[in-house]
């Protein structure tokens, strides 16, 4: 009895769905074409170049995940401590080199100083007395000594301070940020560390030596930090031989930033405020604090979140990232 009932339900549902209707049945439902207009051209049958999509196959073939896993590491030990799920709209955006190019050019233009300046003949100091008589000397006519053809004269059409900045739509620029991060993620070059974890702890022995006043010279202390940073980076496969690393933290981390300043060949450390798309694309990998990455994504998702006021505050404002899966 139960089986029969379900079969009956299935049949009823199937008859409701559009795909179950045959073409002939569907044609009878359509509005018939109007007879009032007729094409002037000779009508040829349409070539059979389009293929209909098999709906069931399309369903099965491509169903992209809405979240991607992100491992959170400990710093500097590089121990995986947690697994989180992040939105695919944040870290799994398809690569668009053109958009990255637009963003990098936009940033380059924006950061041009544009202070080149020359003086025109009207700005060069000096008297505007006529250098020599107009006629009778046998030489060329000449006005003042600021003439562009003279040495020490003004520069015609020379550079003047100006703004080189170009425009880029905010949504495109924000997409470029996420594209760059996604590119790093897919290549396994995005190492996410814990919140505020990106400080380089130094051996306790160092603290003891400094406390005992044995490392008075600044050079020694800097050398120690530099060597320690080199060791940490080499041990984790982040160093010079592995294409350098960019460290991104939410603020200035004394030891790390100082040490990385000593070993520029091993990488660079950046405050979140100083990062742009080009920095994300430059070195071998990004080692980034989790909250810095969240903040970065929060600032660059204008194409994902609406600016329209939504009355229901319970609705998610955008894609959600950083949900703990394991750990």
């Amino acid at each position: 009895m139960a089986g029969k009932g379900i079969r009956g339900l299935n049949e009823a549902l199937r008859s409701l769905s559009l795909s179950s209707q045959t073409c002939r049945e569907a044609a009878s439902l359509r509005i018939p074409p109007s007879n009032f207009t007729r094409s002037m051209a000779t009508e040829a049958p349409l070539p059979n170049i389009t293929t209909s999509v098999n709906t069931s196959a399309a369903d099965a073939s491509w169903r992209p995940a809405s979240t991607v896993p992100v491992t959170i590491f400990d710093f500097p030990s590089f121990e995986p401590v947690r697994l989180e799920s992040w939105s695919a709209k944040h870290l799994h955006v398809p690569l668009r080199r053109d958009i990255l190019h637009l963003a990098v050019v936009y940033e380059g233009d924006k950061t041009r100083q544009g202070t080149a300046s020359t003086k025109t003949r009207w700005e060069v100091a000096g008297s505007h007395r006529k250098m020599r008589p107009q006629k009778g000397t046998g030489r060329a006519r000449l006005g003042s000594r600021q003439s562009p053809m003279l040495r020490g004269g003004g520069k015609p059409f020379g550079p003047k301070p100006r703004d080189f900045a170009t425009r880029l739509n905010r949504k495109v620029y924000d997409l470029a940020w996420r594209t760059a991060l996604s590119y790093r993620y897919r290549r396994g070059e995005l190492v996410v560390c814990g919140d505020g974890a990106l400080e380089l702890p130094l051996p306790g022995e160092f603290a003891r030596l400094v406390g005992a006043g044995e490392l008075r010279e600044e050079e020694l202390r800097r050398g120690f930090k530099a060597k320690w940073a080199r060791q940490v980076l080499d041990a984790n496969g982040w160093g010079r031989s592995c294409g350098r690393s960019t460290f991104i933290a939410t603020g200035y981390r004394d030891n790390l930033f100082e040490a990385m300043g000593e070993v520029p060949n091993y990488g660079r450390a950046l405050d979140l405020e100083d990062v742009d798309v080009k920095d994300l694309l430059e070195t071998g990998r990004l080692v980034i604090e989790r909250d810095a990455l969240l903040e970065m994504l929060d600032r660059h998702q204008s194409d994902l979140v609406t600016r329209v006021f939504v009355a229901n505050a319970g609705l998610p404002k955008g894609p959600e990232s950083g949900k703990v899966l394991v750990g």
């Binding site: 995940a65 030990s77 995986p80 993620y185 396994g188 505020g196 400080e199 350098r244």
Partner: protein
């Protein structure tokens, strides 16, 4: 919208020892391993500061656990006492492995001024020959004997590339993870586990059975596996001077792994890794033992042991075309009409091959021209700037 200004600014150099933002919330208080017995806790700086101990090898999570009250409250007095004792011991203290891992330069001594020299026979030198040289401190830490304790991370210093050894490590990880799960020690699945090289052979004898319905069961000395995972049972390796010896023992040798591989067969590879906790534990352990990291975007493709092996056993990409040809395309090298050079053959190489370069060299020397390169013209400056140079 959150603002960065509200984020917690990291505290200074030493307070970070208490800060462990990445710890699982279920962290429990464990007695410190041998590390704490050799060095007082107050001497330790921030978290991996215990690296100064040789006992401490690629084992982090437990070390980040809160230090027991009895150990953490070592007062300044006791510290001073210990230092004093070390000084009294004299020669023995120098041999102490933990006290002098980083040797600072000796105290500065100042020479007498020329007008205050007490020795009447003193004659100031006119040339520098034969005088003691006084160097800077620029590369003090790179000199022999000044730096004896390197940083040790979670992953091994050398990546394991042998497929059989990797398979053994994966099997070890799977056995350990399933044993913990069956013992109900769920919390420990996400922690770092100690490396017990001495019990490796016994662990390999444990067999994995995969039923038709996907259920996995272990037979063998499971209690020994669990015991080896106890974090208190971290063995004392203080006698070992280098960590490399330790590394060799953390995984099986290639021959042994091959033997074991033949014994195991392929049946165990059907064991499912679909449970995210087990998968995390196994991939983490494999990373710790072999240095093979399963990348985040590959995690979704890892559903069972077979797919995990497929990911971690993949040979690394050759770095150069030459390497690739010599390792994988021997058929090209064997061709009679093809010669393979390791680097680009330039005009100079051709001259050298026919013996004409000596003449060219002489002529260049006569004209005071550079033998290689273009003299004053530098190579691509932007490239060196990108790599952190000037």
């Amino acid at each position: 919208m959150r603002r960065i200004s509200r984020l917690r600014r990291p505290s200074g150099l030493y307070s970070s020892s208490t800060r462990s933002p990445v710890l699982p919330s279920t962290s429990q208080c464990h007695p410190q391993p041998i590390a704490s017995q050799t060095a007082p806790a107050s001497l330790r700086g921030p978290a991996p500061a215990t690296l100064q101990n040789h006992t401490f090898t690629r084992f982090y999570s437990a070390d980040r656990q809160p230090v027991p009250q009895s150990l953490s409250t070592v007062t300044e007095e006791s510290r001073g006492e210990e230092l004093g004792e070390l000084n009294e011991e004299g020669l023995e203290a120098v041999e102490h492995p933990y006290a002098y891992t980083y040797v600072p330069p000796p105290q500065r001594s100042h020479a007498e001024r020329l007008d205050e020299v007490s020795d009447p026979s003193y004659i100031p030198a006119i040339t520098a020959d034969g005088l003691e040289t006084v160097g800077g401190l620029g590369n003090w830490w790179d000199k022999q004997g000044h730096w004896s304790n390197d940083f040790v991370g979670f992953k091994p210093s050398q990546k394991v590339l042998d497929p059989a050894v990797i398979e053994a490590a994966v099997r070890q990880a799977v056995i350990e993870a399933i044993a913990l799960r069956q013992a109900g020690r769920e919390d420990e699945l996400v922690r770092a586990w100690p490396i017990r090289a001495d019990k490796l052979d016994r662990l390999m004898e444990v067999s994995i059975h995969v039923e038709e319905d996907g259920a996995v069961s272990l037979t063998g000395d499971v209690s020994l596996v669990l015991e080896a995972l106890n974090q208190e049972s971290q063995p004392n390796f203080a006698n070992e001077s280098t960590t490399d010896g330790f590394l060799d023992k953390s995984v099986l040798s290639a021959e042994k792994a091959q033997e074991w591989k033949d014994i195991w067969g392929h049946g165990w590879k059907a064991a499912s890794l679909s449970d995210p906790r087990i998968k995390f534990a196994v991939t983490k352990r494999v990373f710790q033992l072999t240095g093979q990291l399963v990348l985040d975007h590959q995690l979704s493709s890892v559903t069972d042991v077979r797919s995990l092996l497929h990911v971690v056993q993949k040979p690394p990409k050759p770095k150069t075309v030459t390497q690739e040809i010599q390792e994988r395309r021997q058929d090209l090298v064997q061709l009679p009409n093809v010669s393979v050079a390791t680097k680009r053959i330039t005009r100079g190489d051709r001259e050298k091959a026919v013996g004409r370069f000596k003449l060219i060299e002489e002529e260049l020397k006569k004209r005071d021209l550079p033998l290689v390169g273009h003299g004053f013209a530098r190579k691509n400056r932007e490239l060196s700037q990108l790599k952190g140079g000037i």
